[in-house]
Symmetry: C2
Subunit: 236 residues, 2 copies
Amino acid sequence: MLFRSRVAESALLKPQGIPVTEQELIRQISEQVVRRLGCHYGPATSARNGIPIGVSVRHCHLSPQNVETLFGAGHELHVRNWLYQTGQFAAQETVTVVGPKGALYNVRVLGPTRSAPQVEVSRTDAIALGVMPPIRQSVADGDGERIVLVGPAGVVDAPNALIRAKRHIHTHPEGAAEVGAKDGDLIDVRLEGGNQLTLNEVLIRVNPDFVPEMHLDTDEGNAADLICGDKAYVIA
Amino acid sequence: MLFRSRVAESALLKPQGIPVTEQELIRQISEQVVRRLGCHYGPATSARNGIPIGVSVRHCHLSPQNVETLFGAGHELHVRNWLYQTGQFAAQETVTVVGPKGALYNVRVLGPTRSAPQVEVSRTDAIALGVMPPIRQSVADGDGERIVLVGPAGVVDAPNALIRAKRHIHTHPEGAAEVGAKDGDLIDVRLEGGNQLTLNEVLIRVNPDFVPEMHLDTDEGNAADLICGDKAYVIA
Protein backbone atom coordinates (compact mmCIF):
# COMPACT_ATOMS: atom_id res chain seq x y z
CA MET A 1 0.00 0.00 0.00
CA LEU A 2 2.79 2.35 0.98
CA PHE A 3 4.63 1.35 -2.18
CA ARG A 4 1.56 2.04 -4.30
CA SER A 5 1.01 5.58 -2.95
CA ARG A 6 4.64 6.48 -3.49
CA VAL A 7 4.35 5.37 -7.10
CA ALA A 8 1.13 7.38 -7.40
CA GLU A 9 2.82 10.60 -6.31
CA SER A 10 5.62 10.27 -8.82
CA ALA A 11 3.20 9.34 -11.59
CA LEU A 12 1.16 12.50 -11.03
CA LEU A 13 4.22 14.49 -12.06
CA LYS A 14 4.22 12.99 -15.55
CA PRO A 15 2.51 15.39 -17.99
CA GLN A 16 1.55 13.34 -21.05
CA GLY A 17 -0.86 10.37 -21.50
CA ILE A 18 -2.56 8.49 -18.67
CA PRO A 19 0.02 7.44 -16.10
CA VAL A 20 0.17 3.75 -15.19
CA THR A 21 -0.99 4.58 -11.67
CA GLU A 22 -4.10 6.34 -12.94
CA GLN A 23 -4.84 3.30 -15.05
CA GLU A 24 -4.53 1.34 -11.84
CA LEU A 25 -6.89 3.85 -10.19
CA ILE A 26 -9.40 3.41 -13.01
CA ARG A 27 -9.10 -0.35 -12.69
CA GLN A 28 -9.70 -0.19 -8.96
CA ILE A 29 -12.68 2.17 -9.26
CA SER A 30 -14.22 0.01 -12.00
CA GLU A 31 -13.72 -3.06 -9.87
CA GLN A 32 -15.45 -1.40 -6.91
CA VAL A 33 -18.34 -0.19 -9.04
CA VAL A 34 -18.73 -3.67 -10.51
CA ARG A 35 -18.63 -5.20 -7.04
CA ARG A 36 -21.16 -2.72 -5.64
CA LEU A 37 -23.51 -3.43 -8.51
CA GLY A 38 -23.20 -7.10 -7.69
CA CYS A 39 -21.81 -7.82 -11.13
CA HIS A 40 -19.67 -10.68 -9.90
CA TYR A 41 -22.94 -12.37 -10.84
CA GLY A 42 -22.28 -11.49 -14.46
CA PRO A 43 -24.61 -9.51 -16.75
CA ALA A 44 -28.24 -8.73 -15.88
CA THR A 45 -30.28 -11.87 -15.42
CA SER A 46 -33.90 -12.94 -15.38
CA ALA A 47 -35.48 -15.79 -13.45
CA ARG A 48 -35.65 -17.81 -16.64
CA ASN A 49 -32.02 -17.56 -17.65
CA GLY A 50 -30.64 -18.07 -14.20
CA ILE A 51 -31.00 -16.40 -10.82
CA PRO A 52 -27.82 -15.16 -9.16
CA ILE A 53 -27.01 -17.07 -5.97
CA GLY A 54 -25.90 -15.26 -2.84
CA VAL A 55 -24.37 -17.56 -0.22
CA SER A 56 -24.95 -15.98 3.18
CA VAL A 57 -22.15 -16.63 5.60
CA ARG A 58 -23.24 -16.43 9.27
CA HIS A 59 -24.17 -12.86 10.12
CA CYS A 60 -26.35 -10.79 12.40
CA HIS A 61 -28.85 -7.98 12.18
CA LEU A 62 -29.05 -5.58 15.13
CA SER A 63 -31.42 -2.97 16.54
CA PRO A 64 -30.08 0.59 16.99
CA GLN A 65 -30.03 -0.10 20.74
CA ASN A 66 -28.04 -3.34 20.23
CA VAL A 67 -25.49 -1.33 18.23
CA GLU A 68 -25.06 1.13 21.09
CA THR A 69 -24.81 -1.65 23.68
CA LEU A 70 -22.23 -3.59 21.69
CA PHE A 71 -20.18 -0.74 20.22
CA GLY A 72 -20.76 2.22 22.56
CA ALA A 73 -23.25 5.06 23.14
CA GLY A 74 -24.14 6.96 19.99
CA HIS A 75 -22.43 4.40 17.75
CA GLU A 76 -23.84 3.82 14.26
CA LEU A 77 -22.93 1.07 11.80
CA HIS A 78 -20.31 1.88 9.16
CA VAL A 79 -20.76 0.61 5.62
CA ARG A 80 -18.06 -1.85 4.61
CA ASN A 81 -19.62 -2.87 1.29
CA TRP A 82 -23.05 -2.70 -0.30
CA LEU A 83 -24.95 -5.93 -0.87
CA TYR A 84 -26.92 -6.94 -3.93
CA GLN A 85 -30.34 -6.03 -2.45
CA THR A 86 -30.87 -2.27 -2.56
CA GLY A 87 -29.89 -0.45 0.63
CA GLN A 88 -28.51 -3.53 2.39
CA PHE A 89 -24.89 -3.50 3.45
CA ALA A 90 -22.21 -5.45 5.28
CA ALA A 91 -20.99 -3.27 8.13
CA GLN A 92 -17.42 -2.83 9.25
CA GLU A 93 -18.55 -4.01 12.67
CA THR A 94 -18.28 -7.64 13.77
CA VAL A 95 -19.31 -9.41 16.97
CA THR A 96 -18.55 -12.64 18.79
CA VAL A 97 -21.53 -15.01 18.86
CA VAL A 98 -21.50 -17.20 21.97
CA GLY A 99 -23.46 -20.42 22.44
CA PRO A 100 -23.46 -22.99 25.25
CA LYS A 101 -20.72 -25.11 23.63
CA GLY A 102 -18.68 -22.78 21.43
CA ALA A 103 -18.29 -19.31 19.97
CA LEU A 104 -18.06 -17.90 16.46
CA TYR A 105 -15.68 -14.98 16.07
CA ASN A 106 -15.72 -12.00 13.72
CA VAL A 107 -19.34 -12.52 12.74
CA ARG A 108 -20.32 -9.77 10.32
CA VAL A 109 -23.08 -7.30 11.22
CA LEU A 110 -25.41 -6.40 8.33
CA GLY A 111 -27.19 -3.10 8.03
CA PRO A 112 -29.32 -1.13 8.16
CA THR A 113 -30.53 -1.76 11.70
CA ARG A 114 -33.87 -3.47 12.36
CA SER A 115 -36.37 -3.46 15.19
CA ALA A 116 -34.98 -6.65 16.75
CA PRO A 117 -31.72 -8.62 16.62
CA GLN A 118 -31.50 -11.65 14.32
CA VAL A 119 -28.50 -13.96 14.12
CA GLU A 120 -28.39 -16.32 11.13
CA VAL A 121 -26.16 -19.39 11.14
CA SER A 122 -25.82 -22.65 9.22
CA ARG A 123 -26.41 -26.00 10.85
CA THR A 124 -22.65 -26.57 10.88
CA ASP A 125 -22.28 -23.29 12.82
CA ALA A 126 -25.13 -24.30 15.12
CA ILE A 127 -23.36 -27.57 15.96
CA ALA A 128 -20.24 -25.58 16.87
CA LEU A 129 -22.34 -23.24 19.06
CA GLY A 130 -24.06 -26.18 20.73
CA VAL A 131 -27.61 -25.03 20.03
CA MET A 132 -29.95 -26.01 17.18
CA PRO A 133 -32.19 -23.12 16.15
CA PRO A 134 -35.26 -23.63 13.95
CA ILE A 135 -35.24 -22.95 10.20
CA ARG A 136 -37.17 -19.71 9.81
CA GLN A 137 -37.68 -16.85 7.43
CA SER A 138 -37.08 -14.41 10.29
CA VAL A 139 -37.28 -14.11 14.06
CA ALA A 140 -40.76 -12.62 13.69
CA ASP A 141 -42.17 -16.00 14.65
CA GLY A 142 -40.56 -15.53 18.04
CA ASP A 143 -39.24 -19.06 18.43
CA GLY A 144 -35.56 -18.50 17.63
CA GLU A 145 -33.01 -19.74 20.17
CA ARG A 146 -31.30 -17.67 22.80
CA ILE A 147 -27.88 -16.37 21.77
CA VAL A 148 -25.30 -14.07 23.35
CA LEU A 149 -23.50 -11.37 21.34
CA VAL A 150 -20.26 -9.86 22.60
CA GLY A 151 -18.97 -6.56 21.24
CA PRO A 152 -16.12 -4.26 22.22
CA ALA A 153 -18.38 -2.13 24.47
CA GLY A 154 -20.94 -4.58 25.84
CA VAL A 155 -23.01 -7.72 25.65
CA VAL A 156 -26.49 -8.52 24.28
CA ASP A 157 -28.26 -11.56 25.68
CA ALA A 158 -30.93 -12.10 23.02
CA PRO A 159 -33.65 -14.53 24.11
CA ASN A 160 -34.89 -15.69 20.67
CA ALA A 161 -32.61 -14.14 18.03
CA LEU A 162 -30.84 -17.23 16.67
CA ILE A 163 -32.27 -18.90 13.55
CA ARG A 164 -31.15 -20.91 10.56
CA ALA A 165 -32.38 -18.87 7.60
CA LYS A 166 -34.84 -20.59 5.31
CA ARG A 167 -33.46 -20.53 1.78
CA HIS A 168 -35.44 -18.22 -0.45
CA ILE A 169 -35.52 -16.29 -3.69
CA HIS A 170 -35.95 -12.53 -3.77
CA THR A 171 -37.52 -11.22 -6.93
CA HIS A 172 -39.55 -8.37 -8.35
CA PRO A 173 -43.07 -9.14 -9.65
CA GLU A 174 -41.87 -9.43 -13.28
CA GLY A 175 -39.27 -12.03 -12.29
CA ALA A 176 -41.87 -14.05 -10.40
CA ALA A 177 -44.34 -13.85 -13.29
CA GLU A 178 -41.66 -15.07 -15.67
CA VAL A 179 -41.51 -18.41 -13.86
CA GLY A 180 -45.21 -18.52 -13.02
CA ALA A 181 -44.73 -18.01 -9.29
CA LYS A 182 -46.16 -15.59 -6.75
CA ASP A 183 -45.12 -14.37 -3.31
CA GLY A 184 -45.08 -17.23 -0.79
CA ASP A 185 -44.91 -20.04 -3.37
CA LEU A 186 -42.56 -22.98 -2.82
CA ILE A 187 -40.67 -23.99 -5.95
CA ASP A 188 -37.89 -26.38 -7.02
CA VAL A 189 -34.59 -24.88 -8.06
CA ARG A 190 -31.63 -26.61 -9.69
CA LEU A 191 -28.26 -25.18 -8.74
CA GLU A 192 -25.32 -24.79 -11.04
CA GLY A 193 -22.25 -26.06 -9.19
CA GLY A 194 -19.61 -28.76 -9.06
CA ASN A 195 -21.91 -31.04 -7.05
CA GLN A 196 -25.25 -31.20 -8.86
CA LEU A 197 -28.11 -30.43 -6.51
CA THR A 198 -31.77 -29.40 -6.56
CA LEU A 199 -33.34 -27.47 -3.71
CA ASN A 200 -37.00 -28.34 -3.24
CA GLU A 201 -39.66 -26.14 -1.67
CA VAL A 202 -37.73 -22.89 -2.02
CA LEU A 203 -39.73 -19.89 -0.82
CA ILE A 204 -40.39 -17.10 -3.30
CA ARG A 205 -40.44 -13.55 -1.87
CA VAL A 206 -41.78 -10.91 -4.20
CA ASN A 207 -41.32 -7.16 -3.77
CA PRO A 208 -40.95 -4.39 -6.36
CA ASP A 209 -37.74 -3.32 -4.56
CA PHE A 210 -36.14 -6.77 -4.80
CA VAL A 211 -33.44 -7.66 -7.28
CA PRO A 212 -33.66 -11.35 -8.38
CA GLU A 213 -31.33 -13.30 -6.11
CA MET A 214 -31.37 -16.64 -4.33
CA HIS A 215 -30.14 -16.72 -0.74
CA LEU A 216 -28.54 -19.91 0.61
CA ASP A 217 -26.46 -20.65 3.65
CA THR A 218 -22.92 -21.99 3.60
CA ASP A 219 -23.96 -25.62 4.14
CA GLU A 220 -26.14 -25.45 1.04
CA GLY A 221 -23.51 -23.57 -0.97
CA ASN A 222 -20.80 -26.00 0.04
CA ALA A 223 -22.99 -29.06 -0.55
CA ALA A 224 -23.51 -27.83 -4.13
CA ASP A 225 -19.83 -26.91 -4.47
CA LEU A 226 -20.85 -23.49 -5.74
CA ILE A 227 -18.38 -20.98 -7.01
CA CYS A 228 -18.85 -17.28 -7.55
CA GLY A 229 -21.16 -16.63 -10.50
CA ASP A 230 -23.06 -19.92 -10.33
CA LYS A 231 -26.80 -19.53 -10.86
CA ALA A 232 -30.05 -21.15 -9.84
CA TYR A 233 -32.66 -22.38 -12.33
CA VAL A 234 -36.35 -22.74 -11.51
CA ILE A 235 -37.53 -26.18 -12.62
CA ALA A 236 -41.01 -26.43 -11.10
CA MET B 1 -21.53 -44.24 36.31
CA LEU B 2 -20.36 -44.87 39.84
CA PHE B 3 -23.95 -44.48 40.99
CA ARG B 4 -25.17 -47.00 38.43
CA SER B 5 -22.68 -49.74 39.50
CA ARG B 6 -23.55 -49.30 43.13
CA VAL B 7 -27.21 -49.77 42.31
CA ALA B 8 -26.30 -52.83 40.23
CA GLU B 9 -24.57 -54.52 43.12
CA SER B 10 -27.48 -54.04 45.48
CA ALA B 11 -29.96 -55.18 42.84
CA LEU B 12 -28.12 -58.45 42.30
CA LEU B 13 -28.94 -59.34 45.91
CA LYS B 14 -32.69 -59.31 45.22
CA PRO B 15 -33.92 -62.89 44.66
CA GLN B 16 -37.28 -62.63 42.88
CA GLY B 17 -38.20 -61.23 39.38
CA ILE B 18 -35.82 -59.39 37.09
CA PRO B 19 -34.10 -56.60 38.99
CA VAL B 20 -34.41 -53.08 37.61
CA THR B 21 -30.68 -52.99 36.96
CA GLU B 22 -30.82 -56.15 34.84
CA GLN B 23 -33.61 -54.59 32.86
CA GLU B 24 -31.27 -51.66 32.37
CA LEU B 25 -28.55 -54.12 31.33
CA ILE B 26 -30.93 -55.72 28.80
CA ARG B 27 -31.85 -52.29 27.51
CA GLN B 28 -28.21 -51.31 27.09
CA ILE B 29 -27.26 -54.59 25.37
CA SER B 30 -30.25 -54.31 23.00
CA GLU B 31 -29.30 -50.75 22.21
CA GLN B 32 -25.72 -51.80 21.39
CA VAL B 33 -26.88 -54.70 19.23
CA VAL B 34 -29.28 -52.41 17.40
CA ARG B 35 -26.55 -49.84 16.90
CA ARG B 36 -24.05 -52.43 15.64
CA LEU B 37 -26.59 -53.77 13.19
CA GLY B 38 -27.08 -50.26 11.95
CA CYS B 39 -30.74 -50.39 12.91
CA HIS B 40 -30.84 -46.74 13.81
CA TYR B 41 -31.87 -46.78 10.17
CA GLY B 42 -35.03 -48.61 11.15
CA PRO B 43 -36.20 -51.97 9.79
CA ALA B 44 -34.68 -53.64 6.72
CA THR B 45 -35.04 -51.46 3.63
CA SER B 46 -34.92 -51.80 -0.12
CA ALA B 47 -33.93 -49.20 -2.65
CA ARG B 48 -37.57 -48.64 -3.50
CA ASN B 49 -38.86 -47.97 -0.02
CA GLY B 50 -35.98 -45.77 1.04
CA ILE B 51 -32.22 -46.11 1.25
CA PRO B 52 -30.63 -45.48 4.65
CA ILE B 53 -28.42 -42.40 4.67
CA GLY B 54 -25.02 -42.43 6.32
CA VAL B 55 -23.57 -38.96 6.88
CA SER B 56 -19.78 -39.29 6.88
CA VAL B 57 -18.10 -36.89 9.23
CA ARG B 58 -14.49 -36.09 8.26
CA HIS B 59 -12.35 -39.18 8.67
CA CYS B 60 -9.25 -40.91 7.38
CA HIS B 61 -8.19 -44.27 6.08
CA LEU B 62 -4.60 -45.34 6.72
CA SER B 63 -2.11 -47.90 5.45
CA PRO B 64 -0.61 -50.35 8.00
CA GLN B 65 2.63 -48.38 7.75
CA ASN B 66 0.80 -45.07 8.42
CA VAL B 67 -0.69 -46.66 11.54
CA GLU B 68 2.75 -47.62 12.82
CA THR B 69 4.19 -44.19 12.01
CA LEU B 70 1.34 -42.34 13.74
CA PHE B 71 0.68 -44.64 16.71
CA GLY B 72 3.96 -46.57 17.22
CA ALA B 73 5.79 -49.63 15.91
CA GLY B 74 3.62 -52.74 15.81
CA HIS B 75 0.44 -50.77 16.49
CA GLU B 76 -2.81 -52.02 15.00
CA LEU B 77 -6.18 -50.22 14.88
CA HIS B 78 -8.68 -50.99 17.64
CA VAL B 79 -12.35 -51.33 16.79
CA ARG B 80 -14.49 -48.66 18.44
CA ASN B 81 -17.73 -49.50 16.63
CA TRP B 82 -18.72 -51.39 13.51
CA LEU B 83 -20.12 -49.46 10.56
CA TYR B 84 -23.07 -50.37 8.40
CA GLN B 85 -20.96 -51.79 5.55
CA THR B 86 -19.71 -55.27 6.43
CA GLY B 87 -16.23 -55.37 7.94
CA GLN B 88 -15.82 -51.58 8.10
CA PHE B 89 -15.26 -49.97 11.47
CA ALA B 90 -14.57 -46.70 13.24
CA ALA B 91 -11.30 -47.14 15.15
CA GLN B 92 -10.57 -45.90 18.62
CA GLU B 93 -7.64 -44.00 17.09
CA THR B 94 -7.90 -40.37 16.02
CA VAL B 95 -5.40 -38.02 14.38
CA THR B 96 -4.91 -34.31 13.90
CA VAL B 97 -5.28 -33.24 10.25
CA VAL B 98 -3.14 -30.21 9.46
CA GLY B 99 -3.56 -27.90 6.45
CA PRO B 100 -1.82 -24.66 5.50
CA LYS B 101 -4.40 -22.48 7.30
CA GLY B 102 -5.90 -24.60 10.06
CA ALA B 103 -6.13 -27.99 11.70
CA LEU B 104 -8.95 -30.43 12.47
CA TYR B 105 -8.60 -32.29 15.75
CA ASN B 106 -9.76 -35.74 16.82
CA VAL B 107 -10.40 -36.88 13.26
CA ARG B 108 -11.59 -40.49 13.39
CA VAL B 109 -9.57 -43.24 11.70
CA LEU B 110 -11.66 -45.86 9.88
CA GLY B 111 -10.57 -49.45 9.42
CA PRO B 112 -9.53 -51.83 8.17
CA THR B 113 -6.30 -50.40 6.78
CA ARG B 114 -5.86 -49.83 3.05
CA SER B 115 -2.90 -49.67 0.68
CA ALA B 116 -2.71 -45.85 0.81
CA PRO B 117 -3.90 -43.09 3.12
CA GLN B 118 -7.11 -41.22 2.24
CA VAL B 119 -8.47 -38.27 4.21
CA GLU B 120 -12.08 -37.28 3.48
CA VAL B 121 -13.41 -33.85 4.45
CA SER B 122 -16.35 -31.63 3.58
CA ARG B 123 -15.90 -28.31 1.80
CA THR B 124 -16.53 -26.52 5.10
CA ASP B 125 -13.66 -28.52 6.61
CA ALA B 126 -11.50 -27.80 3.57
CA ILE B 127 -12.05 -24.05 4.00
CA ALA B 128 -10.92 -24.38 7.64
CA LEU B 129 -7.83 -26.32 6.52
CA GLY B 130 -7.06 -23.76 3.82
CA VAL B 131 -6.86 -26.23 0.95
CA MET B 132 -9.55 -27.21 -1.56
CA PRO B 133 -9.26 -30.87 -2.58
CA PRO B 134 -11.11 -32.27 -5.60
CA ILE B 135 -14.36 -34.24 -5.30
CA ARG B 136 -13.37 -37.83 -5.92
CA GLN B 137 -14.55 -41.36 -5.34
CA SER B 138 -11.12 -42.22 -3.92
CA VAL B 139 -7.48 -41.16 -4.03
CA ALA B 140 -6.89 -43.79 -6.72
CA ASP B 141 -6.99 -41.00 -9.29
CA GLY B 142 -3.87 -39.62 -7.65
CA ASP B 143 -4.87 -35.97 -7.71
CA GLY B 144 -5.87 -35.48 -4.06
CA GLU B 145 -4.25 -32.61 -2.17
CA ARG B 146 -1.30 -32.86 0.16
CA ILE B 147 -2.24 -33.18 3.83
CA VAL B 148 -0.32 -33.71 7.05
CA LEU B 149 -1.48 -36.16 9.73
CA VAL B 150 -0.20 -35.91 13.28
CA GLY B 151 -0.50 -38.81 15.70
CA PRO B 152 0.84 -39.45 19.18
CA ALA B 153 3.95 -41.27 17.84
CA GLY B 154 4.70 -39.54 14.55
CA VAL B 155 3.71 -37.60 11.47
CA VAL B 156 2.60 -38.59 7.96
CA ASP B 157 3.08 -36.04 5.18
CA ALA B 158 0.76 -37.46 2.54
CA PRO B 159 1.27 -35.91 -0.90
CA ASN B 160 -2.16 -36.58 -2.43
CA ALA B 161 -4.37 -38.09 0.27
CA LEU B 162 -6.92 -35.32 0.80
CA ILE B 163 -10.22 -35.50 -1.10
CA ARG B 164 -13.84 -34.47 -0.76
CA ALA B 165 -15.73 -37.74 -1.12
CA LYS B 166 -18.16 -37.92 -4.02
CA ARG B 167 -21.60 -38.80 -2.67
CA HIS B 168 -22.65 -42.28 -3.65
CA ILE B 169 -24.98 -45.15 -3.00
CA HIS B 170 -23.73 -48.59 -2.02
CA THR B 171 -26.03 -51.41 -2.97
CA HIS B 172 -26.11 -55.11 -3.80
CA PRO B 173 -27.16 -56.11 -7.35
CA GLU B 174 -30.79 -56.79 -6.31
CA GLY B 175 -31.07 -53.27 -4.83
CA ALA B 176 -29.71 -51.74 -8.02
CA ALA B 177 -32.03 -53.81 -10.21
CA GLU B 178 -35.00 -52.69 -8.13
CA VAL B 179 -34.46 -49.08 -9.24
CA GLY B 180 -33.26 -49.98 -12.74
CA ALA B 181 -29.68 -48.88 -12.13
CA LYS B 182 -26.30 -50.53 -12.62
CA ASP B 183 -22.81 -49.97 -11.24
CA GLY B 184 -21.45 -46.57 -12.28
CA ASP B 185 -24.84 -45.02 -13.10
CA LEU B 186 -25.64 -41.48 -11.99
CA ILE B 187 -29.12 -41.09 -10.57
CA ASP B 188 -31.27 -38.46 -8.83
CA VAL B 189 -32.13 -38.99 -5.20
CA ARG B 190 -34.59 -37.08 -3.06
CA LEU B 191 -33.64 -36.82 0.60
CA GLU B 192 -36.01 -36.97 3.50
CA GLY B 193 -35.10 -34.16 5.86
CA GLY B 194 -36.22 -30.86 7.34
CA ASN B 195 -34.85 -28.94 4.36
CA GLN B 196 -36.18 -30.59 1.20
CA LEU B 197 -33.37 -31.40 -1.20
CA THR B 198 -32.61 -33.57 -4.23
CA LEU B 199 -29.10 -34.75 -5.02
CA ASN B 200 -28.54 -35.07 -8.76
CA GLU B 201 -25.99 -37.32 -10.44
CA VAL B 202 -25.42 -39.60 -7.48
CA LEU B 203 -23.04 -42.44 -8.26
CA ILE B 204 -24.31 -45.99 -7.83
CA ARG B 205 -21.76 -48.54 -6.62
CA VAL B 206 -22.86 -52.15 -6.86
CA ASN B 207 -21.22 -55.06 -5.09
CA PRO B 208 -22.72 -58.28 -3.69
CA ASP B 209 -21.07 -57.45 -0.34
CA PHE B 210 -22.67 -54.00 -0.09
CA VAL B 211 -25.63 -53.20 2.14
CA PRO B 212 -27.90 -50.50 0.60
CA GLU B 213 -26.73 -47.17 2.04
CA MET B 214 -26.21 -43.65 0.75
CA HIS B 215 -23.04 -41.86 1.83
CA LEU B 216 -23.09 -38.07 2.14
CA ASP B 217 -20.76 -35.61 3.76
CA THR B 218 -21.70 -33.25 6.59
CA ASP B 219 -22.32 -30.26 4.29
CA GLU B 220 -24.88 -32.28 2.35
CA GLY B 221 -26.43 -33.74 5.51
CA ASN B 222 -26.65 -30.33 7.14
CA ALA B 223 -27.99 -28.65 3.99
CA ALA B 224 -30.83 -31.19 3.99
CA ASP B 225 -31.28 -30.85 7.76
CA LEU B 226 -31.17 -34.63 8.07
CA ILE B 227 -31.80 -36.40 11.30
CA CYS B 228 -30.95 -39.96 12.24
CA GLY B 229 -33.20 -42.40 10.35
CA ASP B 230 -33.95 -40.15 7.37
CA LYS B 231 -33.85 -41.97 4.06
CA ALA B 232 -33.07 -41.32 0.41
CA TYR B 233 -35.50 -42.06 -2.43
CA VAL B 234 -34.40 -42.72 -6.00
CA ILE B 235 -36.47 -40.55 -8.35
CA ALA B 236 -34.73 -41.01 -11.70
